[in-house]
């Protein structure tokens, strides 16, 4: 990793008892939130639940950063994702460098996605489930990944890889979601989780409030989860602290 010129400000996995559990908020396309929303909403909710939050935006969301995902008990990502032919998912980062990641492209762990950004259409590096399984290390028990992006939940291979890496629960969307519905859904789910609700309860409550659904080109997308629906922030925290001992 050092050879890749990693962002150095990232914390290492907690190693001492009593250390605050850590959460990661990744926002590679901060300009693409729904009107009035920013990633700060997720940061605040996670902080209110007792997490020390690392918040990275835009070009800070690099491929090396994605290698540190397993250091966190809860990961929230607002980004673009898309399906791959083998039912894996591509999850866009804010990184547009390619040559230095040749090794990962060669193993088909990284792909490029053509995405409209503030600087026009650009090719962004996107990690796959294969990348997460191979290069991010082992996640702590009951860790929660909230991937606020299109279609990732329908991609069975993506979940197989995340589960292999130790992820407890994946929250994401079936089919497409637009930015505003994604922000609204995330707010409701994270708020419920911060109140101590389980993942399945949080998603049910989001539905009851009219969130967690999105219609894109006439097709209904829904927020859902796979893995442990009884998972909570408390469980994710205790899993992380157990793993650190």
């Amino acid at each position: 990793m050092a050879a890749l010129g990693v962002v150095t400000a990232l914390p290492a996995r907690s190693t001492a008892a009593g250390v605050q559990p850590q959460a990661l908020v990744l926002d590679p396309f901060p300009e693409q939130h729904g009107a009035g929303y920013t990633a700060q909403d997720a940061v605040t909710l996670l902080q209110s639940a007792g997490f020390r939050v690392t918040d990275l935006e835009g070009t800070q969301v690099t491929v090396p950063v994605m290698m540190t995902l397993s250091h966190y008990a809860v990961i929230y990502v607002f980004t673009h994702s898309g399906p791959l032919p083998n039912n894996d998912a591509a999850v866009a980062t804010g990184d547009t460098r390619h040559a230095m990641y040749k090794k990962y492209f060669r193993t088909q762990s990284l792909v490029e996605m053509h995405i409209m950004s503030d600087h026009g259409f650009r090719y962004f590096d996107a990690v796959t489930g294969r990348f997460i399984d191979r290069y991010t290390g082992k996640f702590s028990p009951h860790s929660i990944v909230f991937l606020n992006a299109c279609t990732a939940l329908g991609m069975t291979q993506f979940w197989v890889d995340l589960k292999k890496a130790g992820v407890g629960t994946l929250i994401s969307w079936r089919h497409h979601v637009n930015n505003t519905d994604a922000d609204v859904g995330a707010h409701e789910v994270l708020a419920a989780l911060a109140r101590g609700e389980s993942v399945s309860q949080a998603i049910r409550q989001a539905f009851e409030l009219g969130a967690g659904i999105s219609v894109v080109k006439g097709k209904l997308g829904t927020l859902a989860y796979t893995g442990d629906g009884g998972n909570t922030f408390a469980r994710a925290t205790s899993g992380a602290l157990t793993a650190a001992r």
């Binding site: 693409q32 729904g34 009107a35 009035g36 929303y37 607002f78 980004t79 673009h80 994702s81 898309g82 399906p83 791959l84 032919p85 083998n86 039912n87 894996d88 591509a90 866009a92 492209f105 088909q108 792909v111 490029e112 996605m113 053509h114 995405i115 090719y123 996107a126 294969r130 606020n148 992006a149 299109c150 279609t151 291979q157 969307w173 497409h176 979601v177 637009n178 930015n179 505003t180 519905d181 994604a182 922000d183 609204v184 707010h187 409701e188 539905f207 409030l209 009219g210 969130a211 967690g212 659904i213 999105s214 219609v215 894109v216 006439g218 209904l220 829904t222």
Partner: protein, 181 residues
């Protein structure tokens, strides 16, 4: 599961904007959901909106109620009331999806009466095979199977001014098409 979702979709289709207002967010969030019936725009700060229904939202309780559209429309008007200041913005709902780049490069070369089509795959896990088309005409007698090396070439008749399309067939039944010229 699907029954639950259907109920949610039917009962909340007109309410999501209200939920948003109740959070102190701009009602513009409703744009995509109401796209099938109308385009809704709203500015919560000044609390004006156009939509197909009349709406009231209460910030303090986080609850929202909606009444059906007023009969007969002159252009319908929705009124939202919010007790907290909220940011004002114009919504542009955009999907959070994009396609991964599967084909790194592709080109075609005119060689006598034939065309030599060449392409290199960036990602080919889950690919079942390839076919080359000119308009709707399949020029490949047999499916071209993927192999370990990611570069491919195929000789096909020169036709359609050298405009071809590469059809990438996935094992999961989906297909992606890329134009080559």
């Amino acid at each position: 599961m699907s029954r639950t979702r259907l109920v949610v979709a039917m009962t909340t289709a007109g309410v999501l904007a209200l939920g948003v207002v109740s959070l102190g967010r701009p009602a513009a969030a409703a744009v995509p959901l109401e796209a099938a019936t109308a385009t809704a725009t709203a500015t919560v700060g000044t609390v004006t909106a156009t939509a197909t229904s009349t709406a009231t939202a209460v910030v303090a309780t986080g609850t929202a109620t909606a009444t059906p559209p007023p009969p007969p429309p002159p252009p319908s008007v929705a009124t939202a009331t919010a007790t907290a200041a909220a940011p004002t913005a114009t919504a542009t709902a955009a999907p959070l999806g994009a396609s991964a780049v599967l084909v790194a490069r592709a080109n075609v070369r005119h060689v006598g009466a034939s065309a030599l089509v060449r392409w290199t795959m960036a990602y080919q896990l889950g690919v079942k095979g390839f076919r080359i088309y000119a308009h709707r005409r399949d020029l490949t007698p047999r499916l071209i199977h993927p192999h370990h090396a990611r570069s491919y070439s195929a000789r096909v008749p020169w036709t359609n001014g050298g405009h071809y399309s590469l059809h990438i067939l996935f094992k999961n039944g989906h297909t992606q098409t890329k134009a080559i010229r």
